[in-house]
């Protein structure tokens, strides 16, 4: 582990204790989204469009309604017409994506839902709902969608970000642009220029747990929802919008979550379950099948990206020109904005233009996926940089060092970087034995780097001291990557009591203050800071109580190792246990709340080193060695930090080699199962070696930056660059499947 700043003597922060949710999970007791069973509960089933693009002419639910066991059937007409109510366009999109009103925009788009006593009855009733469609021509890729005579998904879509605004509608939702310096001059100064075009396919987050929701509606208009999500406050807000009710009428309890990676920050089933429950007067459970997860949730964008970059002989990047188009799926909102901001953010480049387009097409609406937008852009930029380094015969780490953003660099997307650790990640790779390990025949080595902002946003925490001096740490951030352990470690450090004495819990929307979603790698940073704040309030309170007990001024009391100590030792110390036992006589229960807007984010950087072996006769690429170096700021829980680093890499390797949405010409997904949508299995991978770099974030009490996302940014380019090193083919299309690699090898031979 590369530690750039010594651990300042923490007792708990930085240790690797047993995870607090471990026992429940390994004994099967943890309750995930689909596990809840309520008395009288009905089973729901959703009816989905078989067409990629069609007008709904009519929906006949009468046959389904009269079937045995059926208690409710709903369609888009059972929801308020937000457009007519003047709602914000983004809210209308959320509603229409939840259940179509007049047009279906992708295969799998919801058109109706039923609830019945058994799942079989619900499935039969769903089949009996008759929908008459007028099939419309569809567009599946950015190329098709941007073509001049392309059929339109939304008749009134006028491209934003273009001045003057276009008069004609199109499938381009918006344009983004970042510029600096003078491109012509920059390319004029270059000794080597490389220009390449890249394409990537939509890929799914691939969480193992399918979406599930249970709703129990009351006759007074209130409802309770249990669901697996990355943010139950967000689920509450979206569901309230779609139902046209006040968020306060909904209570949402977060189930344990079996993976999200960004894909569970949005709603699909919750409003349907509530409406079905209202109509039926009984609780309703909706659970997606895997093929529904693929057809109608996630994925992230397919893209086309062009990159032109120039370097001088000494390795300085003189100019960069990036053009990119990102599929948004059915509704505006691809991550092209973030892609534009991150594409070249690792480097200090004097002249650049980054231009991007958010393009709708007849595929499921994209959802966030780990560092949304950044990985595809990095695949393109880092591949071109690799080629430039080769052209000028420079080491791939050295060329990145020569251009690396450092503290004070004006980031390509605007602000000046505060303290960051990109250079340290590059150095960590260079110092690692993998960097000089021998390569066998048909093996090659690739380097790539990546940047992600990391988010801050709003969090709340409550800390209760129990009567025996143990503590309950309550937050509203669903734990998708080990945050409960990190909360407990920081609380143990602050309170000076053992980690085992702390129970971290995730409470429902009525039991703790507001928390934004678990996303943007923000929870250990922002919710962690709220926990630290609350613990510090507790310590203040405890010092006051000790001062009262001893009849001294509070400044005579210090909090050390979980006990109040008199500065001069004039009194025997009072432990947290002593104080808790006496709380009734010193002011009542000991408890504190903290709510905050994050005080500042810490940007994350990752540099990765990949060794592959390519079978030159079959095109199969095997990853034989992999090292990831990432700046965590401070690794509160090194086990989980490594887990995040490795998880990001593994998903990136899947994206690089095999994962892709395959659609037939009618726009129907052909591979909606884990058999043909190939996420890596354990035997596909070597152990992913981790070098945790710790360059503390000045805006967090322990220096945390957030680690969940940036790890997925470099892998596609790292793998592609390694393939090039191994067999001398430059792969510009994802996935770099055996078929494509063999085609490229054949072309080289021919």
């Amino acid at each position: 582990m590369a530690i750039t700043e010594e651990n300042p003597g923490y007792k708990w922060v930085g240790t690797r204790p047993v995870r607090p949710d471990g026992v429940e999970k390994v004994t099967g007791k943890a309750r995930f989204g689909a596990d809840l069973i309520l008395p009288g509960m009905l089973h729901g089933k959703v009816v989905r469009s078989p067409h990629a693009h069609a007008r709904i002419v009519s929906i006949d639910t009468s046959a389904a309604e009269s079937m045995e066991g059926v208690k409710a059937v709903i369609t888009g007409a059972d929801f308020p017409d937000l457009a007519a109510n003047g709602a914000h366009p983004s809210e209308i999109d959320v509603a229409n994506n939840t259940i179509a009103r007049d047009k279906v925009l992708y295969e799998g788009h919801v058109v109706a839902a039923v609830a019945a006593i058994t799942r079989e009855q619900a499935e039969a009733a769903a089949k009996a709902v008759t929908v008459t469609y007028e099939v419309l021509p569809h567009v599946l890729t950015v190329d098709e969608a941007m073509a001049d005579d392309a059929p339109l998904l939304h008749d009134a879509m006028i491209t934003k970000g273009v001045d003057p605004a276009p008069e004609e509608p199109s499938n381009i939702a918006s344009k983004i642009l970042h510029e600096r310096g003078d491109l012509d001059q920059g390319f004029g100064e270059a000794d080597s220029v490389v220009e390449r075009e890249f394409t990537t396919k939509p890929v799914h987050q691939g969480y193992i747990e399918p979406h599930a929701a249970v709703a129990d509606a009351n006759t007074d208009g209130r409802a309770h929802i249990w669901c697996s999500s990355q943010g139950h406050f967000q689920m509450r807000a979206y569901t309230a919008t779609v139902l046209g009710v006040s968020p306060g009428t909904l209570k949402v309890t977060a189930a344990e979550i079996g993976g999200g990676f960004g894909g569970k920050t949005v709603i699909y089933l919750e409003p349907l379950a509530v409406r079905l429950s209202q109509r039926a007067g009984r609780p309703v459970k909706l659970v997606m099948d895997r093929d529904e997860v693929f057809r109608a949730t996630g994925p992230t964008s397919g893209t086309r990206i062009k990159v032109k970059m120039g370097v001088s002989k000494d390795g300085k990047i003189t100019a960069a020109e990036v053009w990119m188009a990102y599929e948004a799926g059915a509704y505006a909102g691809s991550p092209v904005g973030a892609a534009g901001m991150t594409a070249i953010a690792c480097y200090d480049i004097p002249n650049f233009v980054v231009e991007g387009y958010d393009v709708v097409c007849n595929k499921p609406r994209v959802a966030a996926y780990r560092a949304p937008g950044a990985p595809m852009a990095a695949f393109a930029v880092e591949s071109v940089l690799d080629e430039l380094a080769r052209n000028i015969e420079m080491d791939p780490i050295d060329i990145r060092l020569a251009n690396a953003a450092v503290e004070g660099t004006q980031a390509s997307y605007g602000p000046k970087f505060p303290r960051i650790g990109f250079v340290e990640t590059l150095e960590a790779i260079k110092e690692h034995p993998n960097y000089t390990a021998d390569l066998g025949p048909n093996q090659g080595r690739g380097v790539a780097a990546g940047f992600w902002f990391n988010a801050g946003m709003m969090s709340s925490a409550t800390v209760h001291i129990n009567e025996n001096g143990t503590a309950t740490v309550v937050t509203g951030s669903p734990d998708i990557g080990g945050s409960r352990q990190s909360m407990a470690l920081m609380a143990a450090e602050e309170l000076g009591i053992p980690y085992e004495s702390i129970k971290p819990v995730v409470a429902d929307t009525e039991t703790v203050g507001f928390n934004d979603v678990t996303g943007g790698s923000r929870v250990t940073l922002a919710t962690g800071a709220a926990v630290v704040d609350a613990c510090r309030l507790i310590v203040e309170d405890l010092r006051g109580r000790a001062a009262k007990t001893w009849d001294v001024e509070v400044d005579q009391v210090e909090w050390v190792d979980g006990q109040a100590q008199h500065v001069d030792g004039a009194q025997p110390p009072l432990s947290l246990n002593d104080l808790a036992a006496k709380s009734g006589r010193t002011g009542g229960p000991i408890s504190a709340n903290a709510s905050l807007n994050s005080r500042g984010v810490g940007a994350g950087f990752s540099t990765q080193l990949c060794d592959v072996e390519v079978d030159p006769e079959t095109g199969v690429t095997k990853v034989v060695r992999y090292l990831t170096a990432q700046d965590a700021g401070r690794a509160i829980s090194p086990d989980y930090v490594e887990g995040q680093m490795q998880g990001g890499v593994v998903q990136g390797i899947g994206w690089a080699l095999n994962e892709e949405y395959i659609h037939d010409t009618e726009g129907v997904m052909e591979n909606p199962s884990f058999l043909d949508y190939r996420i890596p299995v354990a035997s596909d991978l070597p152990m992913i070696d981790c070098a945790i770099v710790e360059v503390p974030n000045p805006a967090h009490p322990y220096g945390v930056r957030g680690v969940g996302e940036v790890g997925i940014v470099p892998p596609m380019a790292a793998v592609g660059n390694a393939i090039h090193d191994a067999v001398d083919v430059r792969m510009t299309e994802l996935p770099m499947s055996p078929i494509k690699v063999l085609e490229a090898l054949n072309e080289n031979d021919g």
């Binding site: 006769e617 095999n658 052909e670 035997s683 596909d684 063999l742």
Partner: protein, 289 residues
């Protein structure tokens, strides 16, 4: 839907004869996904695993018999079987995962009649025979005679396979099976290639059988490659001829798992490699073992 678990072959055949929409199953690793997806809807499901002779592996002096419903894990775990038929054992060991192999059977793999079934090319090159029971007693078929196309077999609705007979591996013989999948596990063959060779005393090839999976509606033999190998020592030129013959023997389709071009090219590569491995194994297999 009704579930029945007969305890004898006779009971099973009479059940099948009396219920037209009945389907047998062994591990159900194909049957259950097909039921779930709505592709099949039999009225009666007949569990073959409760019939003793269908779930055992035996060897006498000249041959092995493998019960048709025996979990394929038995074949990979039985040391003497896998030592004698490493290719067939490896093919069985490629099916799905450990969990799948604790259920999946050779009978199911064959009768599901997927062009990509892994054990089938390995059974074909080893000349495996299927003992089929029906209302009028049993008949014996070569494995290569069972499947006629995707999902289609020559068995009647009231017939099922009881066991497979495999003649002992002769001296100086060896088998091999290789498959190409994008993933290392939990995947379906894009191309599969089985080979079995017997060497003469001088080391030249006396007998060769090659079969490909996943490149045509059924497993295909490669007579031209077999011919090219006879009498040779599998030098580079011969192996290239094997590869060319394998590519030519393919009649594949373009689908989400592979292209025609890719399947043809890689069929040649795997056929060649399988032959090389089979020869190495044959060289090691002489009188003493």
């Amino acid at each position: 839907m009704k579930y029945v678990a007969p305890s004898s072959v006779e009971e099973a055949t009479s059940l099948l004869s009396s219920s037209p929409s009945a389907q047998v199953f062994a591990g159900a690793t194909d049957v259950v996904p097909q039921l779930r997806s709505g592709r099949t809807a039999p009225e009666v499901l007949v569990d073959l695993k409760k019939i003793k002779e269908l779930v055992e592996v035996n060897s006498d002096g000249d041959k092995w018999t493998v019960g048709a419903a025996t979990p394929t894990a038995y074949l990979t775990e039985d040391e003497s079987f896998s030592h004698e038929f490493p290719g067939l054992s490896e093919a069985a060991g490629l099916i799905g995962s450990d969990q799948i192999q604790n259920r999946s059977s050779l009978g199911g793999n064959l009768c599901n009649a997927s062009p990509a079934a892994d054990s089938v090319p390995a059974m074909v090159v080893n000349g495996v025979r299927a003992v089929v029971a029906g209302p009028n007693g049993t008949r014996v078929l070569d494995v290569s005679e069972v499947v006629t196309g995707p999902g289609q077999t020559t068995l009647d609705d009231d017939e099922f396979i009881v066991e497979f007979e495999i003649d002992k591996m002769p001296n100086r013989s060896g088998d091999a099976y290789l498959r190409m999948t994008p993933r290392t596990e939990m995947d379906i063959a894009v191309v599969g290639a089985g080979a079995r060779v017997t060497l003469a005393d001088d080391g030249s090839i006396e007998q060769a059988v090659l079969a490909l999976g996943a490149v045509a509606p059924t497993v295909v033999r490669i007579p031209d490659a077999e011919q090219a190998l006879l009498g040779s020592t599998a030098d580079e030129e011969t192996l290239n001829a094997v590869a060319a013959a394998a590519s030519a023997a393919c009649n594949p389709i373009d689908d989400k798992r592979g292209t025609v071009e890719y399947r043809k090219q890689v069929a040649g590569v795997l056929a060649k490699r399988a032959v090389v491995i089979a020869i190495e194994r044959a060289e090691q297999r002489n009188g003493s073992n």
